[in-house]
């Protein structure tokens, strides 16, 4: 790992020279380089040239008092390189990087919303996560933001309103959402259609924004575990795992190996149930109700296993800082293995069905195709990327928990359409069952947690976990008290939403739900 960091430090020093103020490493695999304002574009260009698979993982803003620090986290060569720069609070503006990386579009809009930083050159700097009638000069994530009761009428920004009736001559404006039978969670897509062909898509997210990042600063680290778990019900164990890993990195503790294996167990169970939920939902979107009912009936087996393990069906509350909260009893292991063997047989039937059912293939093959170049430019993650032949999986790139010791395959398909993305998830279910079987057979004995102090020393850490929907990214900064200074969450669907705009434009309206559901959108995650 350190070789890659060394190479990158040398490369940046050579190309940028005196623009670099400082280089260093936070933890293994987390290099950073501090540059002056507006030099971040040059550093970004250098990194993109050096590696064609480089992408923007997240864009974090931190309020440092007089300045706002912006950190561009770039994933390249299996490590994260952070480009840090600062802008003064009174005059917070910086050049946008969307012309270099189109995938930075939403990241910059979010920082503009929450911190008040203006990105010059951004194509569409409208509100993203805050409502349209939020007061114009109130930036919630700044430390000096005051609590006000907003006067919604005077602050309403109705310039971006789009009416129901046809606006551009023959283009009808169809609004998908926020309430719509095709969406499980609220988000608005304004589709401009011409007959049956979609010409333009404009997404608007933020309907479920609960301000979790700000709330995390007001709770202790132990309470924050339960808070971040509830960012998303479906991938809750991944959020808890990622947060705990970040805090453990700051503390410098390592969890016992039994705890690592048990964490792997709950993470893979999360993955199976999330993928099965999505495959059933995909059936519902294309009108295949029978598939939906069968898939969710079979998913009940996984919910039962999670209940035996953690005491609850959905929100696991299993992982804590220093390990896991309860042990796995010996007598449960044969029951789990039997249920998983049944599930594997059923998955064989579904795989046979997906490959052979004529109407299913007619609705999903060659629908919503995302090419490999687009996938890399838009920085998509997870099965969306792996369905377009991008080989990216955090469990392989940067093994965490027990993944370094468990043999498994990364599943990729190269067609790039909805069918490929759904098949990636189906194959991943089978891989997960194999991983769980390995974990159950090789579970090490020993303690399942270590005690950690309640007060975390000052420091910062980045942690990544492969959630069912893709790479989940956490940045935690502590200031030596019992409360964190900053918790930044970048969820996988946030990175994937832009690809929907690309794959929906030019297709039929009827393909919109089919291609949309194959991205596996989870808006609770997106909006936080």
């Amino acid at each position: 790992m350190t070789n890659a960091e060394h190479e990158i430090a040398v490369l940046l020093n050579n190309k940028l020279g005196e623009k670099i103020l400082q280089t260093g490493t936070l933890q293994p695999g987390r290099a950073f380089v501090r540059v002056g304002a507006n030099a971040q574009r040059d550093a970004l260009e250098v990194l993109l040239e050096a590696d064609e698979n480089a992408g923007l993982s997240a864009l974090t803003g931190v309020d440092l008092g007089k300045t706002i620090e912006l950190m561009y986290h770039i994933r390249t060569r299996k490590i994260i390189v952070t480009i840090r720069t600062e802008v003064p609070k009174e005059d917070a503006k910086i050049k946008s990087v969307t012309d270099l990386i189109p995938g930075a579009n939403f990241h910059e809009r979010e920082v503009a919303d929450l911190f008040g930083v203006k990105f010059e050159g951004h194509p569409n700097l409208k509100r993203l996560v805050l409502p349209d009638d939020w007061p114009k000069n109130l930036f919630p994530l700044r430390k000096d933001a005051e609590v006000v009761v907003p006067n919604r009428m005077e602050n309403a920004d109705v310039s971006s309103g789009d009416g129901q009736t046809s606006s551009d001559g023959k283009l009808i404006n169809i609004i998908l959402g926020p309430q719509h039978p095709a969406l499980i969670e609220p988000e608005k897509f304004s589709l401009k259609v011409d007959g049956e062909i979609v010409r333009e898509v404009e997404p608007r997210i933020g309907y479920v924004h609960r301000g979790i990042e700000k709330a995390a600063e007001k709770r202790t680290y132990l309470q924050d575990i339960y808070l971040v778990e509830r960012i998303c019900g479906i991938c809750n164990a991944c959020h808890a795992a990622c947060f705990c890993q970040a805090v453990e990195a700051i503390l410098g503790v390592s969890v016992p190996s039994r705890a690592s294996y048990l964490r792997t167990l709950i993470l893979e169970l999360n993955r199976i149930h999330s993928h099965m939920l999505l495959l059933g939902h995909a059936g519902l979107e294309i009108g295949y109700e029978t598939l939906f009912q069968y898939m969710w009936r079979d998913r009940e087996a996984v919910m039962d296993i999670v209940e035996w393990l953690t005491g609850n069906r959905v929100i696991a509350s299993f992982i804590t800082i220093g390990g896991v909260r309860r042990d796995l009893q010996e007598e449960t292991i044969p029951k789990i293995k039997m249920e998983l063997a049944n599930l594997k047989k059923k998955m064989g039937f579904y795989k046979h069905l997906f490959e052979n059912d004529p109407t299913f293939k007619m609705r999903t093959k060659n629908v919503g195709v995302l090419s490999k170049q687009d996938a890399l430019k838009l920085c998509v993650v997870g099965p969306v990327a792996r369905g377009s032949d991008v080989k990216m999986d955090v469990r392989k790139d940067e093994p965490y928990a027990a993944y370094g010791e468990i043999p498994f395959n990364m599943v990729t398909y190269s067609e790039g359409g909805s069918w490929a993305r759904l098949m990636v998830r189906l194959d991943e279910i089978i891989e997960s069952i194999n991983i769980i079987n390995y974990v159950l057979e090789n579970l090490p004995s020993g303690p399942y947690r270590v005690r950690v102090p309640r007060i975390v020393p000052a420091g910062e850490a980045i942690s990544r976990v492969e959630a069912p929907r893709g790479e989940l990214f956490y940045y935690v900064k502590s200031n030596g008290t019992a409360y964190p200074e900053r918790v930044k969450v970048r969820t996988p669907t946030f990175a994937n939403i832009l690809s929907f705009v690309r794959i929906a434009e030019g297709g039929n309206i009827a393909d919109v739900p089919a291609s949309f559901v194959s991205l596996d959108p989870c808006f609770s995650c997106t909006d936080r």
């Binding site: 519902l284 979107e285 109700e289 029978t290 109407t359 039929n508 309206i509 919109v512």
Partner: protein, 330 residues
């Protein structure tokens, strides 16, 4: 014509209006229960024994809801379309022999098969108008889809209905039904299979579910309807299902005619009619459960490139084979 009580009874109660309504609700229950069992779940279970009263409960519930008419709709068409389509479907039903003779006595005439199919088309057109008269983009898209799909399946439907008419040498439905000493499904099974598939398109069930695809366009043409009008629109669609299945029964399965075990042939004929219709509904529901929903352009391809040539071929095959069938008919 003088209004004798028997005529009034036949029109209003059995096999007329009341029978059609109750039978529609019964068939709706059968459909939902069969679909539920195929999907490994229970279906309606609590209202009435085994949930038999569920469709009635749904209808009554909708009648009690508030009736909202959006501001910009074309009022007359919007308000009348559900009632008109419902009444036209019921009117078409009155021409079918249910217990051996027609409802409106002596009203069968040479060519009432064409009349029934045309009435079905007109009622479908009213469903299109119901969507077109609402000022909702979802309704507009749903309405255009109804019409696009209608253009595709109507011609195959007519051609396929001509095959049994050719074998019976008669265009009157009751004559076709009564001339089946051997049910036509055994003589021309390909026509029955194609007819059932085309019927799926007419009844807007999977795989031809596209006009009211919930996950894409919310409700299609029924998006803006609420309360009483929605109740009648749904009832119109249910009667359409029963009517379509009844046409299939009359044309291919021998109508109400079947073995009569002891006296009162009218009762036995009605019973056979009900049983055969339930069988057709079960087959139709099975097809619904097994397929996903096709896109509108795929539906067009299926209609114009597959169903139409196959239906013409099936008619040609029927004509060619009719020489061999004639002895069976006598």
């Amino acid at each position: 014509m003088s209004l004798n009580p028997e005529f009034v009874f036949r029109v209003l109660v059995f096999p007329g209006f009341a029978f059609i309504l109750l039978f529609t609700m019964f068939c709706d229950w059968v459909e939902r229960k069969v679909e539920a069992r195929m999907q490994n779940r229970m279906g309606p279970a609590y209202t009435g024994p085994a949930g038999v009263l569920q469709p009635l409960a749904d209808f009554v519930k909708l009648l009690t809801k508030e009736d909202i008419v959006p501001f910009d709709t074309r009022n007359v068409v919007f308000r009348l379309a559900p009632i008109l389509s419902f009444s036209i479907f019921v009117f078409a039903f009155l021409f079918l022999p249910v217990d051996g003779v027609n409802v409106i006595l002596n009203s069968n005439f040479e060519g009432d098969l064409i009349l029934i199919l045309t009435l079905v088309s007109i009622a479908n057109f009213f469903l299109f108008l119901s969507g077109w008269s609402s000022t909702n983009p979802y309704s507009a898209v749903g309405a255009t889809r109804v019409l696009t799909q209608f253009l595709g399946y109507d011609i195959p439907l007519f051609i396929l209905a001509l095959a049994p008419a050719f074998l019976a040498s008669n265009l009157s439905i009751s004559a076709i039904a009564s001339s089946q000493n051997v049910p036509f499904i055994l003589l021309i099974p390909w026509a029955f299979a194609l007819f059932i598939i085309t019927l799926q398109a007419e009844l807007e069930k999977d795989p031809f579910d596209v006009p009211h695809a919930e996950t894409e366009i919310v409700g299609g043409y029924e998006t803006e309807y609420t309360g009483r009008r929605l109740a009648f629109l749904k009832l119109a669609k249910d009667v359409q299902i029963v009517l379509g299945a009844a046409i299939a029964v009359e044309l291919f399965l021998g109508g109400p005619y079947g073995p009569v075990f002891f006296s009162l042939p009218a009762f036995w004929y009605a019973l056979w009619f009900v049983l055969k219709l339930v069988v057709v509904i079960v087959i139709s529901e099975y097809l619904t459960c097994v397929f996903a929903r096709l896109r509108i352009d795929q539906v067009l391809v299926a209609n114009w490139k597959v169903l139409l040539p196959l239906s013409i071929l099936s008619l040609a095959a029927t004509v060619a084979l009719s020489l061999y069938f004639n002895p069976l008919m006598r």
